[in-house]
Structure formats: C-alpha cells, structure tokens
Subunit: 391 residues, 2 copies
Amino acid sequence: MFLSDSQIDCVFVKMSSSLQDKLKCFSVSVPAVPDGQYEVFVGSGYLRFLRAALQEQFAPRSPFVITDASLVKAGHWDAFRGGDDLSVFVIDPPGEVSKNMQTISAILEAMEGCLLGRDSLVIGLGGGTVGDMAGFAAAVFKRGVPVVHIPTTTVSQADSSIGGKTGVDSSQSKNAFGAFWQPAAVYMDTATLQTLDDVQYRAGLAESVKHAAIADEGFFAWLEEHTEPLLKRRTDALEHLACENCRIKASVVMEDPTEKNRRRILNYGHTIGHAVEALSGYTLLHGQAVAIGMTAAGWIEKEMGLAADDRLERIETLLKKLGLPTRIPPLYSPEQILSLLKLDKKALGRRPRFVLLEKLGKVLCQDGQWAVEVPENLIEQVLCRLTVQRS
Amino acid sequence: MFLSDSQIDCVFVKMSSSLQDKLKCFSVSVPAVPDGQYEVFVGSGYLRFLRAALQEQFAPRSPFVITDASLVKAGHWDAFRGGDDLSVFVIDPPGEVSKNMQTISAILEAMEGCLLGRDSLVIGLGGGTVGDMAGFAAAVFKRGVPVVHIPTTTVSQADSSIGGKTGVDSSQSKNAFGAFWQPAAVYMDTATLQTLDDVQYRAGLAESVKHAAIADEGFFAWLEEHTEPLLKRRTDALEHLACENCRIKASVVMEDPTEKNRRRILNYGHTIGHAVEALSGYTLLHGQAVAIGMTAAGWIEKEMGLAADDRLERIETLLKKLGLPTRIPPLYSPEQILSLLKLDKKALGRRPRFVLLEKLGKVLCQDGQWAVEVPENLIEQVLCRLTVQRS
C-alpha cells in the first residue's frame, strides 16, 4: 500500500512548520513487480496422472497437500497420490464450518512440523473452502510459497480457483480475512464432479449463471438450453461449462487482479448472498446463497427502475430449473441482513454497495463505479418481499 | 508466484501426449504492479502531534491502533491519542510471548467488531512485536488495508519498521508465518526510547551493530566512538543512529524487497540468533540473540579461513561495551540449536545457510549467493566453543 508523492508531501506539509523543520525524511522505494501468468488446464479423468507431472515440474520443491474429508471419502485423494506417501492436511469436518483462522494455524503448524521451508509447494485438492484455505496458508507460510489448485466442485471450478482470492471467514462474516495470492497453476478435472452430492453439485452452478448474467448473454442462452445434460453431468457439457467459466473469469481478473473496481462485477449476487450465507451459519451452501442474492439484485434493479426487460424472469426460471433457491428462508429478519451488509468488503463508510445489471450479459457502471450505492429503505423493501412468510 | 512461459510449457509437455491432447488450456495474465514509495520520518518529541496529522492525511479512513501494555504504561498511548477516543487493540502481555496466530485472530475480530472495512487504516504504535503483528493484521484484514508504523524501541527503529516484513512466531520458530506488506509511512520519534528499560534499550542496539558490520565500516567506527552518548541516550546521538540505520536498511530493501537474495544480508547474526531466541522461549530478547548470532557468525568465518583481520575482536568488544551477550547460555545443546537451524527461512533442502562477512562493512557473496552453506560439523564446533560451560 503506497502513497503517491503528492500525498506524502501532504502529510509532511500538514505538520506544523516548526515540527517539520525538525524532522528528517528518508524515501524507501519499492521496485515494480513484473507481470505474471499462470495456466488453467481443463480436462476429464486425468487426476491420477497429475501428481507425477507436478512433482517433476516443481522439483525440488517438497509438496504439501491440503484436502478435506469428503475428498478422501470420494477416493480423489487416493487417486491423486497413487501409492505415494505424501505430506497432507485433511480438513475435517469439511466445508465452511472449518474455514477459519484456527484451521489456518493448524495447517501452518503441520507444514512446519514436516520441516517444510520456502522451497515447498502447497497443493489444494478440493472445493472452494479447501482452495481458499490452501491459498491463504501458502500466502503466509514463511511469507509465501507457491500454490497449485486442483478444484473438484462446481463452485471452485467455475469461480474460486481462478483469480488469487484466498481467505477465511470471521466469526461474523464471510471471507473477512485473507490475501491475494495468485496460483502457480490450476488443474480442473471435470470427472471429479461425478462424486458430488446433488445439492452441492447444483449449488455450484449458480456461479456459472452469474458469469453468464454479468458477461455473456450467449452463454446464458446456452445454459437455458443445456440444463438437462448439465444436471445429468454429461462430460461434454461439463467441459464446455468449465471452459466458458474460465474464459469469463480470467478476462475479468486480468483487468483488475486486486479488485480495485471492475473485478467487483464478480460480486454480482454476492452482497445479500454472503449475508444470508453467514446468517445461516453456513447451512445454506455458497451457491444457494448466491442464487438468492442474484434474485435480490434483480428485484433491486426493478425497484430502481433499471430493468424494463424480462431478465429477472429468465434468471429466476433458470435458477429454478437448476434446483436453486430464489427466496430467503424465513429465519432472518431484514434488519439482521442489513446489519451484516455493513461488513461487506465493498461497503464504504458502512454503506453497502451492490453490483447490478444494465442488461443480461452486462453490468451497470455508474460514474465509473461497478458497485453502486442503494438506498437502505429500498434494500429493506426487497428483503421483505423476498423473505418466505412463516405460515 | 508465477512460472515463466517455458516452465508452463514444460508442465504441459511432460504430461503424456495422449493426456495433453485432451486438455484445454487458458492463460491468466496478472498485470505488473508499478513501483511504490514510502517515507520514513525521524525526529524527537513529536508523537503528540502525529495523530491529528495522520487523521487529516488519511481521511476518510477510520484509524485502528495496535499497541501493547508497555506503551500504555509508559504514557505513549495517551500522548498519541491526546484526549481522543480511538479504536485500539492493546496486546497484553506485551512482547514475543503474544506474537502468535491467536493474537492476530483476536486483532482481526476486534477490527471487524468495530465495523471497519477496506477503508480503514492500521496504526502500529510500539516495538518490533507490535509492528510485526500490526503489519500482518493489515495485510490480511479484508485482504489488505494500509498500515502506518510508529516504532518506539531501539530494535524497531533500527530495523523492523522498515522493509515490509510482517509476521508471527510458530510454536517452534521465529517469524514463521507472515506476509510482505509495505507500510504507507513510518514515523520514528527517538524521544520514545527514553522510557525503555536498560536491557531492552541495549538489546536493540545490536541491530545497529549489524547494519554497520554488513554495510558501513565508517558507521561501525562511529558506534565504537559513541558508546557513551548512546548509552546515555543523548538526543543527537539517537537521531544520528536512527538516520544511519534508515539509510542502510532502506538501501538494502529497495534492491530486493521480497528477499530473493541480497536482502538476506540483513539476516547476518540472525540464523543462530533466531534459534537461541526461540529455544530460550523468548526470555532472550531479539537483540541479545542477534548479538550472540553475530559472534557465532564471526567464529564460523574464522573456522572457514575467511577472517584474517581483527573484525571478530572489534565486533565482540563493541557488543560487550553496549552490554550485549556474546556467549550462548548453557541451557541449550548444540544438537537442539542445529535442529532448529533446519527450520530457518534461508534453509534449502533443510540445510541451513549463513550470512557471513568478507570484511567489516561488506558481506561475503559466493557464486552470486548472499547466504552460503556451512558444513554441519563446523557449525557444531562453533556452537560448542560459544556455549558457556556449566560450572
């Protein structure tokens, strides 16, 4: 985090002039970091060949795998390691409930217990929570070692494995603490999706709907036409899905890797989404919460007079066909949700900001900002409308 | 962490060709980060004016101060805040015993409890442990907010507040987990050194001896000639000391901010230093441990035939005049120390590497490396020689 020269002069000038005369001043320059690149590979059925390829490529780095109990149960951990005895940390219980600083501490201590140094390689094998924690652990172990992601769920293949966001939840909010840490490479094997349970599988498709809604109407139409092969998990449909997601996600993060502005469009559906996800104690899956959040964003657009077309209806219909929720469970009050929105990372001065659509495939940009302020009473109105009434 | 194009091609090529045919590949580019700059201000007696200047400059950022119980006791916290009611986290007990992931978690949760967002400003007011934790918390809160350092001890003014190294200790080793996070500005008020107890004050002078030894024989001679005004904490001597340290530290970190190679010279005395510091359960202060480590490095140079001059004698004499230890307490065996050296961040393939001098004011560079491998038996021999015999 740096100040410009003029800002620095400003600090200096604003001190009383008698004080200024007494202070000596040294400048510390920090050299530029050159541009970088990593590759994302998409295919089907190659997990078992990957360990040897990684080992050869990253030698002499010592691998350390972070995975979770569901990957072990599904046999993917055994498929990856072959007969080898690799250093591993198995997150148990799997999922959001373990995505916290305590687990990060345990992972870091385990890595040091294996006598790993800066010459180690973290490999995250699993879904979004595994990837977020593997990336965060890699970012802070000995002040940073490389990480390779092997995402194995619909949500992580569509979204979280690309772009370098890492982190954990606080006791109050989602992804509150973390770092930007770009992976060295990402390997997606769509065959790993076959072992996901239906609820998890469908939830992750919400991120694909999000990508289509913010960036590509043609992809949105493809999703509408291919709900059946997608729900049947046909390999060709899964590979096409993964490629479209990679293309869209990569193009956005390349432009704004640390989310200064435009990358915020990926937060479409994530403002109210994160809040209801956190309030549910993570019993709502991330993708389910994002589906609710996208519907809420659509209603906000309507209330603000921004949506004269049928996009909200198309989004809701597609989400429903994919088995995703579009209403808020009657467990949380609008007030509870509103108070969490103030902790949202896009909030400024504790006022929440939303990513909204201009039309299907294009995000609304107001005054150069991709996340716009929405009046609190309007948010509350939409929350009331979307909350399922208790019978 | 990125691979070069040729390395990526290599991963791809090394997979079996039949597999390769089946994989689709996307490149994700990450744009370069431009160079940055921050300023270090040195003066005496201006702490009480600083809060208002910072508040004005960084508005509308919400400040969050991280300090510790000893700063509160010495009155510096009250001097800084004036009559204002600032958000603050007071580390208690102060010092290395609290420098761990648990404290970081508590700080981050406290920040979120204050409803702080990405538009906050972390201010680290204190010694090395406060600065290291304030920087780390800033680096990972909402994936990164700016930090300003106000170092108040000899060790933090000489060394740790400049250069962007942040972190905490593991259960086994020093500064094991952390991040590189450059400050937005650093403010040194040498008047804060007046309240330090003698042991802590003297310990921090070891880092000044280190800077002189690795980079500037003239500064070394100045230290030899000014031990008296330094030990009496005369303002002019303290300001000159701070300026010399800033100049040397800044010039090294500018060249290699993330310690790929040359920045390692700042680790002179820190290899065995960190090990005995950790083994002592941090009852040895950092500077005391570094003094022991520099003496050990000097003996290693002698044993390796690298030191025909009287530099070891001059370094030992100066350290002793400053009231610093040059022998290892009889509490830890050479085997214990050796096993910790394998966790050192400079170690490669679990073999420890040392920063050694070519002559006073210049570090030895071998085959382009500023940290060189030393045979284990030679390290052991030096450890035995330096360990005070039990009576």
